[in-house]
């Protein structure tokens, strides 16, 4: 599904150029659950953003389902993103002015799904993450775990082929964290490909494969238990 070859990414300020990713090549097959690990600043989030088409790469090739997307324009990327990729963030990133229901509904609005269909799908996914009873609450009225479940619901409501999770349990206690990981595992078992950045060895164990990074480079890949 994802085939990145010889990826280079630089960050430039007026005076210095920093190499964020150096000669990175990764390959993720459809249905895989991959964890990316490494210390802060090693480039794992940058890699995830590039995989998610939120950021562009400076050199190298990126094949998404066999299509070269490295040189895609923003509008094409946005289009590909909204139909194929769901995101889960460490800080949940829910919109404060929208209710739980509306937050989850948002991707469907942007993909122009009819209202009745939207309602059905949002309710279905809210049931799945067991947050249906709080559908009319606003994010600030929920606990961290609940917020992250909403975020997961939002990520999957569009039935994306790929879910990218950036430290999804980073802001959660272990109970809530486990619940979220359980959710992701279930999604993966249902066929969704997952790429997850994490600091937690515990979380990484849920993955099929772990890619370890240091200073912008992939240093090791291990296949999970």
């Amino acid at each position: 599904m994802i085939k990145i070859t010889n990826l280079q990414k630089y960050y430039r300020t007026e005076e210095v150029e920093t190499v964020a990713l150096n000669n990175v090549s990764i390959h993720v097959k459809e249905g895989e659950f991959v964890a990316v690990m490494g210390p802060s600043g090693c480039g794992k989030s940058t890699l995830l953003n590039i995989v998610g088409l939120l950021d562009d790469l400076d050199e190298g090739s990126y094949l998404f389902n066999g299509t070269e997307v490295a040189k895609f324009k923003e509008s094409n990327r946005s289009n590909l993103r909204k139909h194929n990729i769901g995101f889960v963030f460490q800080s949940f990133n829910l919109i404060d002015e929208l209710t739980v229901f509306e937050n989850v509904e948002l991707p469907l609005v942007y993909t122009k799904v009819p209202a009745a269909e939207r309602k059905r799908r949002v309710e279905e996914v809210l049931e799945k993450v067991q947050i249906m009873h709080r559908r009319n609450h606003f994010p600030q009225q929920l606990s961290g775990g609940q917020q992250q479940r909403v975020a997961v619901a939002r990520a999957v409501v569009n039935n994306p082929k790929l879910i990218l999770a950036d430290e999804p349990t980073g802001n959660l206690d272990s109970n809530n964290g486990n619940e979220v990981m359980q959710l992701l595992t279930e999604l993966n078992e249902a066929g969704t490909t997952i790429v997850m950045v994490t600091h937690s060895e515990h979380d990484a164990k849920f993955a099929d494969r772990v890619i370890r990074m240091l200073d912008g480079q992939v240093i090791m890949e291990t296949v999970g238990s």
Binding site: L54, D55, F87, F89, N93, I95, E97, Y110
Partner: protein
């Protein structure tokens, strides 16, 4: 759409402070601009309600253009007749007016004063759109005691609209009402309360002996007492029609003519004076610009706040983009948000306009509800709203929707938006306008004070003027004696000067030995008695006053300017001159005094005693004013008169000459107040936001030992800098504008640096107070709170 609105409302409610400031600023600027636009539109709509108004012209008379003679909006009676003989002319019609007359309903003994009568040709109604509501125009000229009155006049005279056949009296003549006309709209240059056939005026002219050899109005080439209107055919060239009219006139005067007749479009006569003075048009232009600037100031607030708060909105933009929102979609979302804010602002604006309507009517001397009937005003208002929307929506929407999702989610790299150059420019722009308006207001105020303090050359205090009933003039000596014997009255004088503060009665009929043939000097003339000069305390530079004896009839007193323009050398007394063909001698020269608005240079003036004088000047004292008025009223009521007793103080006449300047002063006060208020509102919100975003920095600085003053200085420094730049830009603009405005006055105050300093300091004080409130609050907050928050 609906869900979008719901989200927008939640957002607006959550950020109440900014929402209120945005809506308040926009609604005030919208209300002020719309009020100005209503006025502007009304001024521009003058005389455009007549059919084919583009083809209607008024004849102006250029008296001796080669020697810079005056230009009048009136013309002699035969002009219309000449025009009718020109093939390109469709219609020509004449209007003569009597102002401020008294009409009497004898049945109810009800005199109505202050009426305007128009004497018109029979084709007047086919050229102009003054609808007849009742009655008939047939036989209009034949029955010249038939009158057509407006609805309001009918109400005033008869307290009813059923007035056909009813009679009223004007002087000695009885008129019967043949028709009721719709009231003259406020945007008409031709004004009347009563219309009477011109035949009546013609007959009266002949009855009173005509004008010298000319016995009818159709022969009289000397009196420029008509407004002549000409409707030309399509494709006609107005200038050549003017030439043909001039040719006919010259022929009628046997080739002895220096007057040139010029056609001027009807639609311009309200804003451009016959002599080409465009101050009316200028005012409309200036006010249009102010309306636009006020709108822009309001929109700028919105833009500034939206972009300053970009940081707060960044996360939302990032999330929406990540889950699939396109830039276009976000752009539309932010535009919709602005539409909602502008909509609420508009509601409040219209409410404000509703509240302010009577104030508007009073200041503008117009009826607002009438103005709303004009379809164009709605176009103007629509444009104002659309303009505000575009100005306030596009830039923030473009900026907010442009954020890249990663940076906005991290909240990084957006600091450039907090210190946006654009925002600085906009703050400078707002304050430039505000400071400019403040300085203009101060200069106008100075000039008005200057006018007030100017040495007019006479003493206008405690002098009142009045006209007496016709019968009373027969007993004027007895009246004079009676008044002089009254202790409340310090002196009286009978003169032909009906208004000393704005007097226009001029002639070219003056001659003196050595006057060259092509000298076409036009002089002001006034009949006075021997009491006038001492009563008004006009200074005699040379010679003596009139004596009150018959010998005065060959004596003239002139002013300095005339002495110079005649080319006399001192001593002037004893020099010969002849006036209206009466030879005589100059017996005195008075110091120049202002008998017209100080906008005009003092012109040449002749005092003499020959012609009739009907205005009584009475000097009294502060404490005895009422006593003097009572004495005058008693005398007045002794004689029969249609008009009730009334009087005017010279002081009041003086004020009314500068009414339009005073109005301008009041309006500039209001405009600059609004501009500085809106700008300060915006600054307040920006300062609040600045304090909020820098709360952590302030906390750290305080922990490290910064004082409250140090923090206030830190927060205020940038803003103060911007205001300084605004002041620097505003000063030359205000200097230019006020030089232009003062150019209207022949006598004016100096533009001194202090006015600019005061204007700048005032704006700075307002700005500093505005910023300080938030800055001090931020600086006094406990640093632990802000740091713990993180």
């Amino acid at each position: 759409m609906l869900r979008n609105l719901k989200t927008i409302f939640r957002g607006l409610k959550k950020k109440k402070f900014y929402t209120i400031i945005n809506i308040l600023g926009l609604s005030i600027s919208l209300a002020a601009s719309i009020l100005i636009l209503i006025w502007v539109q009304d001024e521009r709509s003058f005389d455009k309600f007549h059919p084919d108004y583009e083809r209607v012209y008024k004849v102006n008379s250029h008296l001796d253009p080669e020697h810079n003679g005056s230009i009048w909006g009136s013309s002699p009676g035969p002009i219309a007749n000449y025009a009718r003989n020109i093939p390109e002319v469709e219609h020509a019609t004449r209007v003569s007016q009597d102002w401020n007359v008294t009409l009497v309903n004898d049945e109810q003994k009800r005199p109505i004063t202050g009426m305007t009568i128009c004497y018109v040709d029979s084709n007047f109604f086919s050229m102009f759109n003054f609808p007849l509501l009742e009655g008939s125009l047939s036989g209009f000229q034949a029955n010249y005691t038939h009158a057509f009155i407006t609805e309001s006049t009918a109400e005033k005279l008869f307290s009813t609209q059923q007035v056909i056949g009813k009679t009223f009296r004007y002087n000695e003549d009885l008129f019967s009402v043949a028709g009721v006309l719709k009231d003259v709209p406020q945007n008409s240059s031709i004004e009347f309360d009563v219309v009477i056939p011109l035949a009546y005026h013609a007959q009266r002219f002949t009855q009173w002996g005509g004008n010298g050899k000319w016995k009818t109005i159709d022969e009289d080439l000397g009196n420029y007492s008509f407004s002549t209107y000409i409707k030309v055919k399509h494709d006609a060239v107005p200038s050549s029609i003017g030439e043909l009219i001039t040719d006919s006139y010259t022929k009628a005067r046997d080739g002895e003519n220096s007057t040139v007749f010029v056609l001027t479009p009807l639609e311009t006569i309200h804003l451009i004076a016959p002599d080409g003075n465009k101050s009316g048009l200028r005012m409309v232009q200036i006010f249009s610009i102010i309306a636009i600037l006020l709108l822009v100031i309001g929109a700028v607030n919105y833009v500034n706040l939206s972009t300053a708060r970009a940081l707060d909105r960044a996360k939302e933009v990032g999330i929406r983009k990540v889950v699939g929102a396109s830039r276009r979609r976000l752009f539309l979302q932010f535009v919709t948000e602005t539409v909602v804010v502008v909509f609420f602002a508009l509601l409040i604006a219209f409410f404000l306009i509703f509240l302010l309507r009577s104030g508007y009517n009073q200041i503008a001397q117009k009826s607002m509800s009438y103005s709303f009937h004009n379809g164009l005003i709605w176009l103007y208002i629509g444009l104002a709203i659309f303009g505000t929307l575009c100005l306030s929506s596009i830039y923030p929407a473009v900026q907010l929707s442009s954020f890249s999702p990663i940076t906005s989610l991290k909240g990084k790299s957006l600091t450039r938006f907090s210190s946006n150059t654009m925002r600085k420019i906009l703050v400078v722009f707002q304050f430039t306008i505000s400071v400019t308006l403040i300085v203009c207001t101060l200069v106008i105020k100075n000039q008005l004070a200057f006018i007030r303090q100017i040495n007019l050359g006479y003493d206008k205090d405690h002098v009142l003027t009045l006209g007496l009933p016709n019968e009373a003039y027969k007993h004027i000596d007895a009246i004079r004696d009676e008044l002089n014997g009254n202790s409340a009255i310090q002196g009286i004088s009978l003169t032909g000067i009906w208004n000393l503060t704005d007097y226009g009665h001029s002639t070219g009929d003056i001659d003196w030995p050595g006057k060259s043939k092509d000298n076409k000097l036009i002089v002001s003339q006034a009949t006075i008695d021997d009491n006038f000069i001492p009563l008004m305390d006009i200074e005699l530079l040379e010679g003596k006053n009139f004596t009150g004896l018959p010998a005065d009839s060959s004596s003239y007193i002139i002013n300095e300017t005339l002495a110079k323009q005649m080319g006399l050398t001192p001593p002037y007394v004893g020099a010969s001159m002849s006036f209206h063909d009466f030879p005589g001698q100059i017996i005195g020269v008075v110091k120049d005094f202002h008998f017209k608005s100080v906008k005009e240079k003092i012109g040449p003036m002749v005092f003499w005693t020959r012609w009739g004088a009907g205005t009584l000047y009475v000097k009294t004292t502060t404490s005895q004013v009422q006593q003097a008025i009572n004495a005058l009223e008693t005398i007045y009521n002794r004689y029969p008169s249609d008009s009730p007793f009334s009087y005017t103080f010279v002081d009041e006449q003086f004020d009314s000459v500068y009414k339009s300047e005073q109005q301008t002063g009041v309006l500039f006060n209001i405009f600059s107040g609004i501009a500085i208020f809106i700008s300060a509102l915006g600054l307040f919100a920006l300062a609040t936001h600045e304090a909020q975003t820098r709360v952590k920095e302030i906390g750290i600085r305080k922990v490290l030992g910064a004082s409250v003053f140090g923090v206030v200085r830190l927060l205020g420094k940038n803003f103060v800098m911007l205001i300084c730049i605004a002041i620097l830009i505003a000063c030359p603009i205000a200097l230019y504008l006020m030089n232009e405005w003062l150019g209207n006055f022949a006598y004016k105050t100096d533009l001194n640096a202090w006015t600019f300093v005061v204007g700048g300091v005032l704006a700075m004080i307002i700005a500093v107070i505005t910023i300080s409130y938030q800055a001090i609050r931020a600086a006094r907050a406990n640093p632990v709170d802000s740091l713990r928050d993180e």
